[in-house]
Point group: C2
């Protein structure tokens, strides 16, 4: 069953189209957007090996002129050097203002391609074809694009909305289990911050740690509800003035953990899982959330085979210091997103370093 979610924005509304087998209609869907004929498809060797040919064939059969740019795979390549490679490919293939970039890959490819599209010739159009669960439910929707600074994740970037997000759940079959779990962290996040029904439905499931353990119906349900949650929040707050901050639930400490471990020990979803566990404990400590619900959250995280403890040997003072360079710092105060019940969170800046330290020491 095909599902189309609309992301409503003042200037750049667009569709998130979800359906099994959609990769083969990429060309057809893209041709309805009224774009120019030239496309630069950006991917990584793994994803391109699995799906590059199908994507290109679909685009070519819709009469697009397609060039491709293959970047090395991994968060460590989400930097200005890789960006330079996209610019080089854009120049070589004479990508014009009317041309389009297509991101075929996970969040790293999506974020970098989006940022390249935002900044090539001061902005051209782009289409997201996310191939990881994480990118499908999170990175591909919302228009956040960018690269990492050696000392901080996503410090360099721009808001740039795609023309279309095309999601084919079938491509998850080649996704490694650990990557699948990482995506589940964001799905669980939507349950906590926005969609209690999604949370309840996931609780009925025995395991959430691999695509083969979940029925196609449930995967579709999860994708629809997650994308709808993100679309709801983003539509109400395009540029993170207020509400959108709730999407950062679990990310405050999560980013610090990723940064301190050099983006290699834990992946983004695992870091967010740790961050959600920590945020849950902080909320309980401050009397904002009841401990039973916090435990339900943690059990769901475990069911997805995600970590609930800090990586061994991590420097807790380092985490606390890193929070100060986070984008979410405002006038020196760290803002936390904390649950008050499943499906509802609040934003607060009254979490002291002492509380953070105490909670982290328990983890």
């Amino acid at each position: 069953m095909a599902c189309a979610i609309k992301v409503y924005l003042p200037q750049d509304s667009y569709e998130v189209a979800i359906s099994s087998g959609y990769l083969d209609v990429l060309g057809e869907k893209t041709s309805t957007l009224g774009l120019g004929k030239k496309i630069l498809l950006v991917s990584n060797p793994t994803v391109f090996g699995h799906y590059g040919e199908r994507a290109i064939n679909s685009l070519k059969s819709a009469d697009f002129d397609v060039a491709s740019c293959i970047l090395p795979d991994g968060e460590q390549y989400k930097n200005l050097e890789s960006l330079q490679k996209i610019y080089d490919a854009a120049l070589e293939n004479r990508i014009e203002r009317s041309s389009t970039m297509v991101a075929l890959g996970g969040g790293v490819i999506g974020d970098m391609t989006g940022f390249a599209a935002a900044t090539w010739l001061r902005g051209i159009k782009f289409v997201q074809v996310p191939t990881t669960l994480l990118a499908m439910v999170d990175a591909a929707i919302g228009g956040k694009t960018g690269v990492n600074h050696p000392q901080g994740k996503n410090l360099i970037g721009a808001f740039h909305q795609p023309q279309l997000v095309l999601i084919d759940p079938q491509v998850l079959e080649t996704l490694p289990d650990r990557e699948f779990s990482a995506g589940m962290a964001e799905v669980i996040k939507y349950g906590i911050i926005w969609d209690r029904e999604l949370f309840d439905r996931m609780e009925e499931c025995d395991r959430l740690d691999r695509i083969s353990a979940i029925t196609p119906d449930l995967i579709e349900y999860i994708l629809n509800h997650s994308c709808q949650s993100k679309a709801d929040v983003v539509s109400k707050d395009e540029k993170e003035a207020g509400l959108r901050a709730i999407l950062n639930y679990g990310h405050t400490i999560g980013h610090a953990v990723e940064s301190l471990t050099g983006y290699s020990v834990v992946n983004h979803g695992e870091a967010v899982a740790i961050g959600m566990v920590a945020a849950g404990k902080i909320a309980v400590e401050l009397g904002m959330w009841n401990p039973e619900e916090a435990q339900r959250q943690d059990r769901l995280i475990e069911k997805a085979n995600l970590p609930t403890k800090l990586p061994a040997g991590i420097d807790i003072e380092g985490i606390i210091a890193a929070l100060q360079t986070d984008k979410k710092v405002k006038a020196g105060k760290v803002r936390f997103i904390l649950p008050t019940s499943i499906g509802k969170v609040e934003i607060t800046d009254r979490v002291t370093s002492e509380v953070i330290r105490r909670i982290l020491e328990q983890m």
Copy 2:
């Protein structure tokens, strides 16, 4: 006499404030904008040596907390490496979303600082304090920001509007004559594309090649009329959908000449002067403009001590090939801005390579 020109935009209207001695009220003016307390001032060693202390003192006396980032001077440093240095300084000085960048310098500093501000934490605010005539009348107004790609000028960038453009004509006294002339190229451009009165007023002047040859009144008139011309055009077309393209008069061939000579033989204004002479000749050749007005344009260009001939030995076929990679290419066709009378231009894509070649061979 202080003059304030308003640039009207749907979301980010701002003021261009022009007056002798205004550098000392930078802090006061900036403090009226409701920005955060932290400022990163970006400049180059030459300009910072002349005016850095005054700018910083003015900001500090208005209670701002100011850090500075000094980049090497010159168009050849307008690249991703210099950008990285601004990002590093932003990280080091904990520049937050509520912080502001201030560009103190010419177009290179302004464009890079604006792009850094557009992309640091996905966009923070910035103020332009242009110190060259070229930057005052052109680069600082309009929100175009960016860096060069090794193979093409301004290929990487973003639209990002400043909160304020502060112009102090006094700082032109330390500007080298060649740089002053370069700025006059853009002033002459406004006369041709928009403001016949400005053109006529300049014709009354004996020489336009140095600040000391021009009365303070005329300089103020020139700054006001040039900034007003740019503000008029930009207000009507923020993102270069249509009208704004006329600002590229002289730039089509100009950019190719700059690029082919490695951005070292001629500066931007000189390249634009050459481009305007070429565009004028093409317009006459196509019967769009009368040859007497074209000659008046060329005489004004000579009065500003700007070139009217191509640099010796330049590869004409190289220019024609370079036009194909220009941002202004649309579906493979090069768009030219051509005068029809002084103060009025038209956009056309009917200029063939043969015509371009014939005209360039005469130059």
